[in-house]
Symmetry: C2
């Protein structure tokens, strides 16, 4: 996705959010905000990918803060809150005629947990309060039947994870993907370095993803979504061989929508108008959208 005008204040809002997570020092806060504005004045270009610009703005914020992971506490808390909801997720799947579809919905509900942006949540505990509402909302856009056709005949599937918290529900999703087609080789991809509230190898190790996927790869570097120019060779090969790519969340859409990789199924909550408009979807819905 190309950066939209409205992405600029949204990105600054997120930078201010991470500044508040990281420090109480007023001079540092001021320096981060001034540097982020300066970088935006240099990089802003409606022909550039939003994720590429966001990566550089977060990079300078982290550098000035001297903090490699301002979201660490929120990420841990998000995982704990999501884990407390796993029994309910399992109950829903057990009762369902369509375990894969239910696991997809729950994993998208996990994607509502996102911090420092308008359509996101202000605290991980919000997920507890809103989980049942989101379940009854269901999917506002649903390409699952077409995704299942592709999944049924796929040999290799790659799932790009997004935030902490939702990564807990992604483990259930991975299990159901393999239950649906036990012959599939399933690769999970997380971020190569800590960036915003996204899951990394630390999370997949702790959550024992080795139980449900065939391999865990990383994007190899510090990037919002995926930096295709700095993608490791193993990930490049895996993407080339994939029969189906599944992307969780908005940042992966921002990155992949600028590439020719296909088929891709995006599983996400439309939390901002920029993404919703770009995907031609309503705002604030749970969506499965396939691009073949």
């Amino acid at each position: 996705m190309k950066i939209q005008n409205e992405c600029v204040p949204c990105l600054l809002k997120r930078v201010i959010f991470e500044v508040e997570q990281s420090t109480k020092d007023k001079k540092t806060k001021k320096k981060v905000i001034k540097n982020a504005c300066k970088l935006l004045s240099e990089l802003y270009d409606p022909d550039e990918c939003s994720a590429v610009i966001a990566t550089e703005v977060h990079r300078i914020a982290y550098e000035v803060l001297g903090d490699k992971d301002p979201y660490r506490h929120l990420k841990d808390l998000s995982n704990r809150v999501a884990q407390s909801l796993v029994p309910r997720v399992e109950e829903l799947i057990k009762k369902s005629d369509d375990p894969l579809g239910t696991s997809i919905l729950c994993s998208i509900i996990g994607n509502t947990m996102d911090f420092g942006i308008e359509g996101g949540s202000s605290h991980p505990d919000m997920l507890k309060d809103l989980f049942e509402k989101y379940v009854s909302d269901g999917l506002g856009y649903d390409d699952t039947p077409r995704v299942k056709v592709l999944l049924g005949k796929a040999k290799r599937v790659v799932l790009f994870a997004d935030n902490c918290g939702e990564i807990v529900f992604d483990k259930v999703l991975c299990r159901e993907l393999k239950n649906f087609n036990p012959n599939v080789f399933l690769s999970l991809v997380v971020r190569g370095e800590s960036i915003i509230s996204d899951a990394t190898m630390k999370d997949t190790d702790e959550l024992r993803f080795d139980e449900v996927v065939d391999e865990v790869l990383t994007t190899g570097c510090f990037a919002v979504g995926v930096d295709f120019k700095r993608m490791p060779d193993d990930l490049k090969k895996t993407l080339e061989k994939a029969d189906l790519i599944i992307c969780k969340g908005m940042a992966n859409y921002e990155s992949f929508s600028e590439t020719r990789y296909h088929p891709i199924a995006y599983l996400l909550r439309t939390k901002c108008t920029a993404i919703a408009n770009s995907m031609e979807l309503p705002l604030n819905i749970n969506a499965v959208k396939l691009y073949q």
Copy 2:
């Protein structure tokens, strides 16, 4: 009020809003956004008044746009919408035991009409839909009794107007201020030049404020709120002689809260957390707060 971190994305959001009002040319839009970010990176300073920085950012936006009044259509429409509600305002005042108090409430309700910010309205017509709700909300903070004591013994009162639309209800307020104390000399102050959605002499001429006030003055220049360094001599003298200053809206609070002028009654809707926190008031209430 000193600028807060959160003012930075809010200000950019408003600049983008005015860009959208003014042009469809992508190159111009890009140039405005880049220039606004650059200026913010230079000017941002938590020890500076928010209105002073906002003035400079809007100034550069207007310059790059080559547009002296991007809000002109919205301002005209706001006045028309507010005028369509005047019969209802008069009805409420007629029925009321406290005509001044009712006119104060209605004039604050007019202050909900504000564009390009989160707590504001997206279209002037929203006021029609929400007017009765705001009336039943009433005042969430009410220093009116103390204001009345000062008004009762005042010889000279100055009212600083804010947005178009609400200026229509301000005329009713001015009439009721004079009804409450017919001996008062009432000066109305509007912006010296068109800036954001604020009222100017053009509006007070069209609305015949000469019927209800003793004089109409202006802030003399292009400024969010009041630029005290460039204030005309007549306004300076009027402020020095005033027994009571009444300020409508947030921008006037941002400016006057950095001065020693007193007593001041602020009549506003708390539309953002920065102002609400600074005034120690809840967010999204109608408020009359007196600083003696």
